[in-house]
Amino acid sequence: MIAHADLIALATTLKLASISTLVLLLLCTPVAWWLANTRWRYKHIIEAIVALPLVLPPTVLGFYLLLWFSPQSAVGSFYQQLTGSTLAFSFTGLVIGSVIYSLPFVLQPLQNTFSAIGRRPLEAAATLGASPLDSFFSVVVPLAKPGFITASALGFAHTLGEFGVVLMIGGNIPGETRVASIAIYDHVESLQYANAHSLALVLLGVSFLLLVFVYANNRSVLVSKA
């Protein structure tokens, strides 16, 4: 039913979504924590900046990434000197694009969760002699588990459906930058609707199962707490 090339595209999508979500969690946790707790007067400027990826249409965001990745730009030439290859048309480039594209979807739930938890549990842990890092990992992280699950699910799902950014910076290389959404688009454009339908169905099915799994876990956390 599904061609081998489409399976590879599906695998690339899953790999991209997993790695991007992981990077986003590592990146967003400290930022979200800082945003939730800082009393800095101008923190709303940072909040506005991290919400900006929501504003630009994905293809436009992708276009600017393409310019940014170019060996003629500072970032692109630095990367090229470092590795000998270009960021555009590479899996690494896609991860960078996805991280920017899905940033608000991971950051905002985390920030809200951390805000809701507040500083009190941490202060209680501190009076018991826990170091800040220790109390973060043994107090805040378990309390924030539903927030982490929501953030991961949103980040993962958003990257699965990513299209415009990849279209602009990917270059359609099988096994590297040809993700499922691009493969579906190719089928539609070349009027091979049957192939498009089956690949879209599989992508939806896989995503649905993953999300059900994630939210079921989220529920059991809440239930066990009650």
Binding site: F63, P71, F89, Q108, L167, V188, E189
Partner: protein, 281 residues
């Protein structure tokens, strides 16, 4: 919750009310302007145009309009999308396609008026490599099976090894991509791991890949490089690939649609098309 209300609800309310008023005002102005425009035109026609033909289409329209005709409304995009939308009921009077297969497809489905289907332009492929002079060179000089890196960028032996990136349009989607693939086959060049091939969704995107400097060279349309220095590109001889025939198809019986269709095929229309880097039949 993506947005939190600020602590000053009154200020927030005021701001949103102000924004809402501004939008309402602007949309009223725009609707008005558009209504006026449509009153002026005789009989509005809509023409779906392949992305590679945007500039000649605009030039054709302004000439057509100058002769007292309607101003055609253009929908630019990929032919694949256009065909899918037309099949689902998008009201389009003429389709200027990027190939001849898809107008044929619409004609086979009985969508073409009187089976009206004509080749309006024959696309020419160029090998474009900005920042390096190609004067006096032939395509075989710069692209050979042995010299797998594009000449002038070969860094074998140097400390830094840079993979050379060659851009082309996706052969499955874009006629110019198919032609590029036929050129590589004609030259006996196999896809190797030492040269990275990247594919644009269409010829405009392929152009972007090269123009932004992310790809060192690429196969693009002659119409795209008209205003660039002549030594940056090589016109690909037509024996290397099948002709890139672009056909159009008449989809409705409107008078103005027929007139625009005929105008495109007229000597004046053909001259405009040739000026933009296409051949004509």
């Amino acid at each position: 919750m993506l947005f939190k209300l600020t602590k000053q609800p009154r200020l927030f309310t005021l701001l949103s009310a102000g924004l809402a008023c501004t939008f309402a005002f602007l949309s009223a102005v725009f609707t008005d302007a558009m209504a006026q425009q449509s009153e002026q035109s005789v009989e509005p026609i809509t023409v779906a145009v392949a992305s590679n033909f945007i500039r000649p289409a605009k030039a054709l329209a302004s000439e057509f309009e100058g002769a007292g005709n309607t101003s055609p409304v253009f929908i630019f995009g990929s032919t694949g999308k256009h065909v899918a939308q037309i099949e689902q009921g998008l009201a389009v009077d003429i389709l200027l396609a990027a190939d001849k297969a898809r107008p044929q497809y619409l004609a086979d489905k009985g969508q073409a008026i009187n089976d009206q289907r004509h080749t309006y332009a024959v696309g020419r492929l160029v090998f474009w490599s900005p920042g390096r002079s190609l004067t006096g060179k032939s395509l075989g000089d710069v692209l050979t099976p042995e010299n797998v890196l594009i000449e002038g960028t070969s860094v074998e032996g140097s400390a830094k090894k840079t993979a050379s990136v060659l851009a082309m349009a996706n052969p499955r989607l874009a006629p110019y991509g198919l032609a590029a693939q036929q050129v590589l086959t004609s030259l006996g060049i196999e896809q190797t791991h030492r040269r990275k091939y990247v594919m644009g969704e269409n010829i405009a995107q392929t152009f972007q890949f090269v123009a932004s400097g992310n790809a060192e060279a690429g196969f693009v349309a002659a119409s795209q490089v008209q205003e660039l220095p002549a030594d940056e590109y090589l016109l690909v001889p037509q024996q290397f690939h099948n002709a890139i025939e672009q056909q159009m198809v008449l989809l409705t019986n409107k008078k103005q649609a027929k007139a625009f269709y005929q105008f495109i095929l007229s000597p004046k229309g053909m001259e405009i098309i040739r000026k933009h880097g296409y051949d004509t039949r």
